[in-house]
């Protein structure tokens, strides 16, 4: 037993030392240092290794399904998306990791990403220039980029995320989350890495410029005023039908009752008075508990 522990420790040390000194996939990136990787690894061992394995190799359940998937080639972009939006660490196992307030600080997310980047050849965290339109774009170029992004959005994204990015249902309790209120960086990373049930839109599928244009379209339409009043959740005809019945029919039936309750009278005084007691207890005379018909 003791021998096994020693062996494990030795392996751990070797692996750790390797990851410290190996050049890694993102050695060229300026903002991640070896120190970041070390700190990221420490964080990883505390917060992630339980499910993803101590070296991000993944953990299998007894049945052979994945307990936590291997992180060998997911890249820093994936870590930044999953941890930055609070999806990881999971609060509980479920159909889908939910977006929630992030557990790690930006600095810690950066360190975790730096560490996971060293595990294989995944995409790195994108630079801001990747998901914002260049500032030297003319108005015309901006507009055509947004239009192009809109068409790409309608072709590739609306089937799950809905025409307004309000989200949609996926099988077995899964869902495509809303895209409103999501930072452009995370949308770009989601496109790159394809988290959970989302397909990966590689650069061969959607070029970086096209990804940027989709984000520009979402930013642009999100900033536009609601020309037509309250959006009713932007969920399409279901919520419209709900409002037609509750607000429309509700109000109109209310008015019908109101009109029918006010009949003609010759004076301004309302018929009946304060002495309109339904029950006269003291002498037991018949009273009328209710008026009306139905």
């Amino acid at each position: 037993m003791a021998g096994l522990v020693v062996l494990l420790l030795a392996l751990l040390l070797t692996g750790g030392a390797y990851s410290l000194f190996s050049p890694g996939a993102t050695a060229g990136q300026a903002d991640t240092s070896a120190e970041d990787v070390t700190k990221g690894r420490e964080l990883f061992l505390v917060g992630c290794a339980f499910c993803h394995g101590r070296n991000g190799e993944g953990v299998l359940t007894v049945e052979g399904t994945q307990y936590g998937p291997a992180l060998s080639d997911v890249g820093g972009a994936s870590v930044d998306f999953q941890v930055g939006t609070g999806r990881m660490p999971l609060a509980q196992p479920g159909q889908q990791a939910e977006r929630k307030p992030p557990v790690y600080t930006d600095e810690e997310v950066r360190q975790l990403a730096a560490y996971v980047d060293t595990l294989g050849a995944g995409p790195a965290v994108p630079d801001e220039s990747a998901y914002t339109l260049p500032s030297d774009f003319t108005d015309e170029e901006r507009e055509s980029a947004i239009t192009r992004g809109g068409q790409i959005f309608l072709t590739n994204c609306t089937a799950c995320h809905n025409f307004d990015g309000a989200g949609g249902a996926m099988p077995r309790g899964g869902y495509a989350p809303t895209l409103r209120g999501v930072e452009p960086k995370y949308i770009y990373e989601a496109l790159l890495t394809g988290p959970q049930q989302m397909p990966t839109f590689s650069d061969g599928n959607l070029t970086p410029d096209e990804k940027r244009d989709v984000i520009a379209y979402l930013e642009d339409t999100g900033a536009k005023p609601a020309y037509s009043g309250f959006g009713l959740g932007n969920l399409g005809p279901v919520s419209e039908g709900l409002f037609a019945w509750i607000v429309g029919i509700g109000l109109l039936v209310g008015f019908a009752i109101w009109i029918a309750a006010h009949t003609t009278r010759s004076s301004r005084q309302k018929p009946g008075g304060s002495s309109n007691l339904p029950v006269n207890l003291s002498d037991g005379e018949p009273g009328s508990p209710k008026g009306g018909n139905a």
């Binding site: 239009t147 072709t155 379209y217 009043g229 419209e240 037609a244 029919i249 009109i259 029918a260 508990p289």
Partner: protein, 582 residues
């Protein structure tokens, strides 16, 4: 008493006395009456009496929202271009500028963004259409629940059902006109439904679309159907519906003075005209507020239709939601016969069930009449509880409809209530069959319990909430008799008789013709009536009154004395009162 005789001829002079010159309005009226002869018709109809009850105004919501649909629709036709010709959009909405689209979609965008008031009118048109169909449905429910469909009004029921069907079709064609992604998806679905028809499916599809989907003809064709064909039929049927209403006279609730042979209410002028006219403005106002503040079908977000695209939340408008729901929950049943696929998964929810339910809806009054064999004229309404089985049948149908409708929004329910879309589907597959049965049983028993309550009220009076304590310590609640008009109202219904098929076999043991059918009818009649609580007989009522007199005598000593503490109810002077003798 003096009479002004100055205008009366007071001599036998050669010139006759003349009436004074009529007022200008009178002159115009005389001019018109001489040529149109309206006075005779008006004289009668301006005094036409309509009974007053809120539930009689539900059909009016439908009428007035239909008027709003017509008015706003005319405005929309001024700018809408029913063409699938391809143009490049160059209007105000910049995220679509430069995109190629059909003229129909471009003109809808133009109408929404570049025509003053266009978006408001478009939204009002759509909201009013949704309310039109919804109000037709609640009107139908009122007519069924109160028994207003009975003879002589069965044909008006049929016309109403046709209006509901045509209104739905009209809504669907309108939904398809903007040629945006959502409406195109709807047309694509309709194309699939047509093609699911065995043998003739593809022929019908090619006929409707003028070739393979989508072709270039569907939008102009739907436009003609939407603005000419169906509105013409709707207006004609609405007119027939209202003429029959005037001819039959409106039904009324039973009550003192209201019988099967009269109508008690207010005359058309001035009361009813003011109420109905006012209601039009209220309907218009509600629709205008909805159109001004609530988005409906923001077509610019969908983009032009393109068969390669689709969006989550692609649903039809609410009134087509229930066939869509059936389509969503049916298992993928298909069979292949001789190399041809029969798509039961499309045929059952779309091509079989909705038409079958429409036919059932139209037939309901006739089925009811066949079971009850009631051929009398009915102008007095029934309360829903007084026809428990009939009420329960409609509630069962409503339950089926509601579940299928909810299934049509299964994806939205899944994301908003954090449920699994699969589990919703599995639940609906069972609930669609079990739910109506449960609803039927509960409603029927509920109605019968309410009948029992009415009978209690007639025999023992209503519960006063006053608890009496007898000298030996027992507690009882004091009941007081209900008013005479209330008692009249509760007893103004027929005593029902269960149809029996006995005595239809003659002495030779030969059954009379139609005997087996009579057996079925007897069973249905038993289901319909046998458990109902009938109103008390005269003897029972008299016995109950006698009992009440006796009870009153028992508490006579209390008369004039409020129960201790009750004298401080703020309705009498309490200067000399003391509480519990202090």
């Amino acid at each position: 008493m003096s009479i002004d005789t100055s205008k009366v001829a007071d001599s036998n002079a050669t010139s006759a006395a003349k009436a004074s010159k009529p007022s200008k309005a009178g002159a115009v009226a005389t001019w018109a009456d001489d040529r149109l002869g309206l006075a005779g018709a008006m004289k009668k109809n301006l005094r036409k009496v309509f009974p007053d009850h809120w539930s009689f105004m539900l059909g009016e919501i439908a009428l007035w929202s239909f008027v709003v649909v017509l008015l706003t629709g005319v405005f929309l036709t001024f700018w809408y271009v029913p063409s699938m010709g391809e143009v490049e959009y160059q209007g105000s909405y910049d995220p679509l500028r430069g995109v190629h689209m059909s003229e129909a979609y471009a003109s809808t965008l133009h109408l929404s963004f570049d025509v003053r008031g266009g978006l408001l009118l478009r939204q009002m048109h759509h909201w009013a259409a949704m309310i039109f169909i919804a109000s037709m449905m609640i009107h139908l429910l009122r007519v069924w629940f109160t028994g207003a469909f009975r003879k002589p009004r069965e044909l008006n029921w049929v016309i109403g059902c046709l209006l509901l069907f045509l209104g739905t079709l009209e809504g669907f064609t309108g939904y398809s006109l903007p040629d945006d992604l959502l409406s195109g998806t709807g047309i694509r679905a309709a194309d699939g439904f047509l093609k699911a028809t065995p043998v003739v499916g593809s022929y019908m599809s090619f006929f409707l679309f003028g070739g393979e989907f989508p072709g270039e003809s569907i939008i102009p064709r739907l436009y003609t159907i939407h603005v000419l064909l169906i509105p013409g039929l709707l207006v004609a049927l609405v007119a027939a519906h209202m003429l029959l209403l005037v001819y039959h006279k409106h039904t009324q609730w039973p009550g003192p003075g209201r019988t099967n042979d009269n109508v008690v209410g207010y005359p058309m002028l001035p009361v009813y005209a003011a109420k109905a006219g006012g209601f039009f403005f209220i309907v218009f106002g509600v629709v205008a507020i909805m159109g001004a503040t609530m988005t409906i079908n923001g077509v610019w977000k969908f983009g032009p239709y393109d068969p390669t695209k689709v969006t989550a939340g692609s649903q039809p408008d609410w009134y087509m939601g229930w066939p869509d729901g059936l389509l969503r929950v049916i298992p993928g049943w298909e069979s292949v016969i001789g190399g041809y696929t029969i798509s039961w998964n499309v045929m059952i929810p779309i091509l079989i069930t909705p038409p079958a339910l429409l036919v059932l809806l139209i037939m309901l009054p006739f089925i009811d009449q066949w079971i009850t064999k009631d051929k009398r004229d009915h102008h007095l309404l029934q309360r829903p509880r007084d026809a428990p089985t009939r009420t329960a049948i409609m509630v069962a149908l409503m339950t089926f409809y509601g579940l299928a409708w909810a299934a049509g929004g299964n994806d939205i329910i899944a994301i908003k209530l954090h449920l699994s879309i699969n589990q919703i589907t599995y639940f609906m597959r069972g609930a669609l069959f079990i739910g109506p049965v449960i609803a039927f049983i509960i409603t029927r028993r509920w109605c019968i319990s309410l009948q029992r309550h009415d009978r209690e009220k007639l025999l023992h009076g209503y519960e006063t909430g006053v608890i009496m304590r007898s000298p030996d310590g027992g507690y009882s609640e004091r009941h007081l008799p209900i008013s005479e008009s209330e008692a009249y109202r509760l007893t103004a219904r027929d005593r029902e008789k269960v149809f029996t098929a006995d005595g239809r076999i003659d002495e030779n043991g030969v059954a009379a013709p139609g005997g087996r059918l009579d057996g079925v009818r007897a069973k249905l009649s038993t289901l319909m009536y046998a458990d109902n609580i009938q109103k008390p007989t005269r003897a029972e009522l008299e016995e109950a009154h006698h009992h009440a007199e006796h009870e009153k005598a028992l508490t006579a000593a209390l008369t004039g004395h409020a129960a201790d503490g009750h004298q401080f109810d703020g309705k009498r002077p309490v200067d000399d009162e003391a509480l519990r003798g202090d």
